[in-house]
Symmetry: C2
Subunit: 327 residues, 2 copies
Amino acid sequence: MAVNFRHVLHTTLLLPPPPPHLWPSPLPSCKPTRTKLSATSSPSPSSTQMELHTQGRQKFMEFPFVSAPHRELMVDLVSTVEDRLGSQLLPCTLPPDIQHCQNQNGTAQASLHIRSAHDSSTSKVDFILGSWLHFALPTGAALNITSLSAYLNPSTDAPNLVVELIQSSPTSLIFILDLPPRKDPVLYQEYLQTFYENTKLETRRQMLEKLPEVQPYVSSSLYLRCVLSPTAILIRIQTEDSGPERLEEIIKDQLHPVAKEVVGIWVDHCACGEREVEEEEKAYLKKRDQIIKRKTIEIDLGTNFPRLFGPELAGRVLGAIQEVYDR
Amino acid sequence: MAVNFRHVLHTTLLLPPPPPHLWPSPLPSCKPTRTKLSATSSPSPSSTQMELHTQGRQKFMEFPFVSAPHRELMVDLVSTVEDRLGSQLLPCTLPPDIQHCQNQNGTAQASLHIRSAHDSSTSKVDFILGSWLHFALPTGAALNITSLSAYLNPSTDAPNLVVELIQSSPTSLIFILDLPPRKDPVLYQEYLQTFYENTKLETRRQMLEKLPEVQPYVSSSLYLRCVLSPTAILIRIQTEDSGPERLEEIIKDQLHPVAKEVVGIWVDHCACGEREVEEEEKAYLKKRDQIIKRKTIEIDLGTNFPRLFGPELAGRVLGAIQEVYDR
C-alpha cells in the first residue's frame, strides 16, 4: 500500500513550537541569546494565536498511531529543530480543523503544522512543516506517515531538510532523510564539497545501507529523484523474518542516531551557517525553490489527500499549504 | 579491484568510424541522404588521416580481452551510432600510440578513439569517445572496462549518452547506461517529461533491476551521481553461484537489448531530435558541458591513467582528450 503513498514526501510532521514556557532552551541557538516571539519585525502573536498553536502542537506531538521508537525519533527531531531555531519561528496559525483533520468515517486522520519564520533579516528559515498521516487500510493494517521538512529562504543557498518515515506494516518501513540541494550541484562544485563531502553525509548513508534488512528505495517520481541530493538516504527496511521488534530496534538504534546527526548538521551548517548570496543568485534561488515547492505539493498531496479526505477538506488543506509556499 | 576503477566512467570505448567502403549504410541516418566525409565546411581527410583512423578502429573493434557477448554488445552499439551519425563524424586523428597504448611490462593496455563532428551547422554532435582498457591484476585475474560516450553541442539541449561495462572477474560486472541531462531537471520539467518520461527509460531500468543477480551500484563519486539522470541504469551483476556462463547469458539476453534500445532512443530523440535553443541558453549549455567534461576527466582518468601507464604517457593521453574537450 505504501506504493500508493510513496510520493507523500512532504506531508511531513508539523513542527509546532514548544509551549511558551519551554521556549528558553539550554541548547545553543543560531543566535546566542533567545528572543521572544515578538521580534521587532513581527507583531507579537495574540493569546488566541498561541492557544491555537499550543493545542495543535499537543495533538501533533502525540504521534498516536506509531510505535514508541518511531514516536521518540520524531519528537526528538522536532524538539532539536525547535530548540535551535524556535526563537526565529512564528506560531502555527492554521485553522484547528486543518491542524488536525479526519475523514467522515474516521479511517483517515492527519496532523499538519506549519511555522513560518519571522520576517526578519536575521533568519535564514522560510518555514518548517511537519505532519503525520494515519490511514486504516481495508485489510485491517494501517499506513502511517510521519515527517518533518524545513525550507530556507533566499538569504542563503544552503540545502533544505527532509525526513520521512512511511510505515505500511509493523515489519515494513520506508525511511527518507536528506538535505536537498537548492542549486544544481553539477554547476556548483564548491556547493557539493561544502554541504555533502565536508559533512561526510555519505558515511551515514553507507552505514544504514549495510544492515541486512535494508534495501535501497527508489521513488516512482522521477522529479523527486532529481530534487534529492547525491547522499540522500532512501531505504526500505523489512523485518518479516524477525518481527516488529527488530524494526523497532532498527528505528531506535540505527535510524534515530543517524537522523539526529543529520538534523544537527543541517542546523549547524545550513540553517545557521553563513553564506554569501548575490542579488542575482537570490532570484535564481527564489525561482528554483518555488518550482520545487509547487511540484512537491502536486506530487505529494495533490493526488492522495482528495482520495483520503474528500475534495472539500483536501482543497482547504492544500490551499493552506500553498499560501505558505507562495508567501 | 573494480572499486579502484569505478570512476573510469568515460574512458569509454572509442567509436571509430567504419572503414570508408562501409560508410553508406542501409539504416536511416539523421540526414535522409548520406554525405561523404568531405562536408562543405570541413576539408576532406587525407589518405594518411584515413589510414590512421582505419588502423586505430580495427584495433579498437577487436575488444580483445572480453567475452564474446560483451564484445558483440559493444560492436553493435558502436556500429549503431556510426550507421546513424557516421556522415557527421570526422575520422579519429589521435596519434597511433594514443589510439592504442600499453605500459612497459605489458600488464595494461588501452584503446582510445575520439571522433569529433564536422564543424557543420547541421550536426548536433560535439564528439563521440570510445575506449577499452585491460589491466592484468596481480592475482591473475583482469580488469576490463569498455565504454562508449557521446556528447552533443550547444545547438541542442538534448542529453548526452554514456555506456560502460566494468568487468573485474568472469562472474562480476558493473553496467552503466544513461542519457545524462544537460540542464538542471529540477528547473526544467518539460525536459524531464520529454527525454525521460515520454521515452519510458524507467521501464528499462526496472526490468534489469528485477533480475536476481542484480544489485544497485552506487558510484563513490558524489559528482558523478549528480551528473547522471533519474533513470540511469547503474547495476552490479554477480553470478558467482551460477558461473561465468550466466553472466554472459545476462549480457547477451538482457543488457544487450536494453542498451540497443536506449542507444536508439538517444539517436532518435537526442542526436537527431529537433530542439529550439535560445542564444542565452547556448551559453548556459556550453558552460555546464565544459564543467562536466573537465570534472569527468579529472575523476575518471586523472587518477588511474598515471598509475597504469606512467606519468608521461598518461599526460599525453589526457592532453589529447582535453584538447577535444576544449575545442
